[in-house]
Amino acid sequence: MAHIELDEKKINRLKSLARQVAEQVQEMIADYSTVSVERAVLRLYGVDGVDGDGTPLVNRLVELLQAKEMLSAGISRYFALAMLTSGRDAQTTALQLVNGDIEFAEQGRFPPEEISAKEQDLALSAVAALDATRQRKAEKQKRYPLGPQPWKYVIVATGNIYEDRTQARAVARSGADIIAVIRSTAQSLLDYIPYGATTEGFGGTFATQENFRIMRAALDEECAATGRYLRLVNYASGLCMAEIAVCAALEDLDMLLNDSMYGILFRDINIKRTFVDQHFSRLICGRAKIIINTGEDNYLTTSDAVENAHTVTASQLINEALGRFSLLTDDLLGLGHAFEIDPTMKNGFLYELAHAQLTRQLFPEAPLKYMPPTKYKSTDIFFSHCQDTMFNLASIATNQGIHLAGMLTEAIHTPLMHDRYQSISAINYVFDTARDLGSEIEFKKDGIVAGRARQVMAETEAFLEEVRVEGLMQAIAAGKFAGIKRREEGGKGLDGVFKKAPNYSNPILARLEKEGVING
């Protein structure tokens, strides 16, 4: 592998700073829950479906409890009691609650131990479901082996799940490893998950459990046809982070966009809401072996990729540190970065190599997610294709993990079928023809590349130092990330955050935290 000489002590210092920053956040997280976390619990208990207005039952249930001002204890206990009361399964119980046939109550005719036992039962099978998806995926990957890294990651974004399926099958055949269904625009701001198969998205297709299922089924067929395992990706970030993680786990998804700060910065979602949701969603991902993809690339769509390289590195370190608290192992950390330097910059490619190689060396075991050029993409598709070719080369030379396919029409439209074909052909060519380039070259000790990597490290250290002193939330409030200011008490979804009461109960959360990392 290509190598830059970096000071181990400095690396450890960065990691320790990030851990300290994350610790402060984690303390806050422990005290709060959110409507989305509670809905996620219900989904894992087996509640699904929508009412006549298309509102998911899980939303209705949480609202019912909220209306009674009983949510601070968590929904688990009340729902377990309701199930005991109805004597039926979760879904039927949910319908009865929504229809008013039964009601959430503080205490029914069942002793606390029996309620607790019911909760534990439900939690046990919830966690068993997470274990089952992990095992199913492992099975499939045994039958259909994974390709070598960098894995080729391609998006589909027609808005219609059935067209998406056609496009996904096409690109699977041309050699993609990973298919991401891009989400309809701003779905992250919806405080519920739409239901069923959808055909009218906007710049993307809605993330629904049924859409997940349809796509996974198609990809399973392609696995059999191509003999390679095909990963499926969707987006968790947003107001329903934890719930989407549940749906994804239930439908055998392999990756989720799941960043600790994306929602805060780029969607103005409340800080606490995001951090709390993120923790629970990541516990689920960890148990179900869903790789998370973080969103550091987004910084560079608005800020300059050279000037702000250190914010990308800092965010990666924070995502990693928070990920550790949520029991994510290295192999699940798809930390993000991007090839976004102005193509007219002299030696820009050397800077790109420095950034990519630094990321590689800071997180040697993580399947790094590397984003192609987008902001400076030309509408001249031929020139744009060259830019992607250089990106492909940077990726293979620095041994990235998850390689997002650059599209020659990036600056024009969401990809057409043949745009993807061209993209994959170009990637295959570069990855093959330069397969071992990384292990062939060394960067000069005091060259531009090494110097740049060290400079970004130094800038990151200074930056994280500041963040640690102020605290992450204050740093965000001060606009230190992407120049965007978000206040702790501002942003969307704040009303869905609540302080846990002393009797708060979430046996899934408790169990996942207690059992720690589970493999196999």
Binding site: A170, R173, S174, A186, F202, T302, M417, H418
Partner: protein
């Protein structure tokens, strides 16, 4: 006017050479290639060479084609407008506002509808500007209010009225399913419904915007890719001065 007939140029005048690439929903093979050739013939081409074809998905074949286009176009009849901009610099613009308007220009900008892209409007409005050209916020004689993205039309209009804006700058980046046209039109209709269309200079911008398109939609001007802030400021100030009847300000 004398006719001026033109055709595409490859390496000889009027050879008509054009490159095409497209996918047909048919399986690969000689019949697919033939179909590509026949299809391109329907598009008014001759000497059609299907250079490359590959089945890129079950039942879908991709083609790269070179062919010679038959039609001629009389270039003398082609007209296109560009926003009438007398390009002035930062200092001259501020000076003109100061001298002839006597108060700062008030400009409200936003990316409307569900469009979340801010980089375009920011390029025009933020201090920093674009391509070494200062943004409107930097102009001492311009009060620039950037409302950001995903701004509803009502919201924008309310703000414009509140601050007695001279000009509205509207950005649209997402064009899938022509949503930009819908959004632009919605704003115009709202202004007309409230009978305040004429109060503001209305400027549209974005990667697929041309002046022609903007004017067609009822805007005063439109700016596309590569626009720098001073172009927009020049346009605003010269147009407002002309409307006031001030002339002779350009040397």
């Amino acid at each position: 006017m004398a006719k001026e007939m033109i055709k595409p140029y490859g390496d000889t005048l009027n050879d008509g050479m054009v490159q095409l690439a497209f996918t047909l929903p048919v399986a690969g093979g000689p019949r697919a290639k033939k179909a590509a050739e026949l299809y391109v013939a329907k598009l008014n081409f001759t000497d059609i060479a299907v250079s490359f074809s590959r089945e890129i998905a079950d039942g879908f074949t991709y083609f790269v084609v070179y062919a010679k286009a038959l039609p001629e176009l009389d270039y003398s009849t082609v007209q296109a407008t560009e926003a009438r901009v007398t390009k002035l610099d930062f200092y001259r613009i501020n000076e003109l506002i100061k001298t002839h308007i006597n108060r700062p220009l008030v400009v409200v900008g936003a990316s409307i509808g569900s469009d979340a892209h801010t980089v375009g409007i920011d390029a025009i409005m933020n201090m920093k500007g674009y391509n070494q050209d200062y943004g409107l916020e930097r102009y001492p004689q311009i009060e620039a209010i950037n409302m950001g993205a995903q701004v509803g039309c009502e919201e924008l209009v309310a703000r414009a009225v509140e601050v007695s804006a001279d000009a509205l700058l509207v950005s649209q980046t997402v064009t899938q399913k022509d949503v930009h046209l819908a959004n632009f039109t919605e704003l115009i209709e709202l202004l007309e419904a409230e009978k305040i269309r004429d109060r503001f200079l209305l400027v549209a911008g974005g990667p697929r915007i041309s002046n022609d398109l903007a004017v067609e939609l009822g805007y005063d001007a439109g700016f596309g890719p590569g626009t720098v802030p001073s172009q927009v400021a020049s346009y605003m100030v010269t147009t407002l001065l002309r409307r006031k009847g001030v002339t002779g300000f350009v040397d």
